[in-house]
Symmetry: C2
Subunit: 387 residues, 2 copies
């Protein structure tokens, strides 16, 4: 039986071994600068073009609309700053949600503070979903962008992107979708969904850290964030991270191959995990459930438990889970997402996030469930003894 | 005898095999998100801290003054935009040189165009060096930054950084040094040189592409370019490129170990190369030479030769060299550096850049010299026959 369980795949996933195999030549002998005109350079350049094709194909975009970045945060900052400031150097308006990733929220705050922007943060209902009529009501004359994520990193909730796309299009407003948690999990067709720009990150679906991409339908829409030698058609300069790009391309290819069964796999893992909890443990609750939740994420509150103590104990048993968003655990504060969901402080402090990845196996989930049940019982026992 | 010669190390260097060995665990089992609180995350975090120490030590900085970026261009854009716009949101003044890398020049142009900045581009003399009295004369009341590179990528010329540091300090102006071509080649002491900020890039000295760093003495001086989860003390968000950072750390460590003999090694290779040319070929000239040139770069003009034809033929013989800067060859235009040096258009079109790296061997240089001599003769022969 498995004695290790990594269930924090929304924070990052292990790299697929095929991805590493594909990257290795570019970490060894194929080291040319893609801008160079000799063969070693051309090799690297061709590899980048092939990867661009794979990434484009994953979201049904044209190749030339993919801009490689160093990750999801750079992609998000590039579009928020690069599009909004080109469109309205001062006092523009952005509509986003209260549960976006900090990469969106902090960029919006920056525009608010430094460029007199106003930002509307749409609330979510108890299903973790925005209300479309509220979105429509918030549109103003100076609204330059609607930025709404596809799948939330803490809750797994899927926003009504198709309708957001339609509303944006109808009002002639740029629709940016942070799809960092969605790409590699769900099939995405940017054209059909009327998405103007979309962010993705390789390490969230079996690719390497330090590489991502921005899909941008209209490249003349933005000013670059990083200036220099004119790579990525001048929109993102800097010698290309060739191995990283090749890794992203391979991760995209593998993701496309497994779409068919991945969701079903997660549904099964989720059922297994929840059935164990239902059988053996009282005093817990899914913070959000139902049809709007992608099955790989479970956000659960345990009565009379401090999430931090639980996660620490689980780590001792080699079970890795998260409390709040990993991306902001370097600045520990209460999850803005769980707050937006309307949970009490007490409940938020008792909540953990469990997230499956493409590589997660049944035995891992079983071990994690049993260890978690055991640990929760132990902690409750201890707290009773203390009283 | 060696039948391959890679002599374009100013464009990029092959990754050192020890760097790859150090990176591999973080591309395999040590895949944790450094922000996570469980062991897998802490491992990654510790590795980042160790790498930060190595990078800091390479330039005699304190660890906490190193900000990891996705490369040199991001480091340069971060400081130019992040420092200048904080200091003067509008109409500031920057002094730089006419031979900076496009990462500096394009960022300055951006400030000129979008924020009413004025930029002074210091000329260079025939030694490829700025004149310090000109620098002093150009300082204005609204000068917010002096940005001068350490070693030029096309010429190899070393600017009088120590004096620039003193002038900057005396005038209370931030001194940024683009040291992308210098780090890993020459010993740098940022404190002694009075450098306020410095950019470096791993792939220029045996590290991976897609990772670099900004040294910044006073971190409160800048606004971030990339917003998000608050990594790098909030100055550069985004899940860390752990493997890349570890690779940069190892490259820094290796660079420090070889300083002692590296320059002497380059001096020998240069002598060897030039002696072959002197013995066997007429009608060529070093575009810049003398004491201000770091010995790993040779920029040479060949009479009656088109650099492009020469480079293409050499590529056929597996000799890789560059015409103009690789970083801008995706947008082919005449080298702004050679223009600044005062060369005629004819001479610029006849010029190639040869650059050695830490791994360059004598046999490579010998093969390249002989192939180059042979090819130049052949091309000249062909051109005579055409007439």
């Amino acid at each position: 039986m498995c004695r290790v369980a990594y269930l924090d795949n929304n924070a990052t996933t292990p790299m697929h071994e095929k991805v590493l195999l594909k990257m290795l030549p570019f970490l060894k002998d194929s080291y040319g600068n893609p801008s160079a005109l000799y063969d070693l350079g051309k090799q690297a350049n061709l590899a980048i073009q092939a990867a661009r094709k794979e990434v484009a194909s994953l979201i049904n975009s044209k190749d030339n609309k993919i801009i490689f970045t160093s990750g999801g945060s750079e992609a998000n900052s590039t579009i928020i700053m690069g599009y909004c400031l080109r469109k309205a150097p001062k006092a523009g308006h952005i509509i986003t949600t209260s549960i976006e990733h900090p990469a969106i929220l902090k960029a919006c705050e920056f525009l608010e503070k430094e460029h007199d922007y106003s930002i509307t943060y749409l609330p979510i209902n108890s299903d973790g979903i925005i209300e479309l009529n509220q979105l429509e009501n918030e549109i103003r004359n100076n609204t330059v962008m609607i930025s709404i994520m596809m799948i939330n990193n803490e809750l797994g909730t899927i926003q009504p992107i198709r309708s957001v796309g339609e509303i944006s299009k109808r009002n002639g407003i740029h629709f940016h979708c942070d799809a960092v948690q969605a790409v590699g999990k769900v099939g995405i067709d940017v054209e059909e969904l009327k998405i103007d720009s979309l962010s993705l990150s390789a390490h969230k679906f079996g690719g390497p850290k330090g590489i991502g991409a921005l899909y941008l339908f209209n490249k003349s829409d933005i000013m670059p964030l990083i200036h220099g030698g004119g790579q990525e058609e001048g929109l993102r300069s800097g010698t290309e991270n060739v191995a990283g790009i090749v890794g992203l391309g391979e991760a995209a290819k593998l993701a496309k191959e497994r779409y068919e069964f991945l969701k079903e796999h997660f549904v099964q893992l989720r059922k297994l995990f929840l059935s164990k909890l239902e059988e053996q443990l009282d005093g817990w609750e899914l913070n959000v459930g139902g049809e709007f939740v992608y099955p790989s994420t479970l956000n659960i509150a345990f009565d009379d438990i401090r999430a931090e103590a639980l996660a620490t104990m689980l780590n001792f048993y080699n079970v890795s889970i998260s409390i709040g968003s990993a991306c902001s655990s370097s600045s520990p504060k209460q999850s803005h997402v769980l707050t937006a969901l309307g949970l009490s402080n007490e409940k938020i402090r008792s909540s953990v996030r469990i997230s499956f990845g493409y590589q997660t196996e049944e035995s891992e989930v079983l071990y994690a469930a049993e260890t978690l049940i055991h640990t929760v019982m132990q902690l409750r026992q201890l707290s009773i003894q203390k009283v």
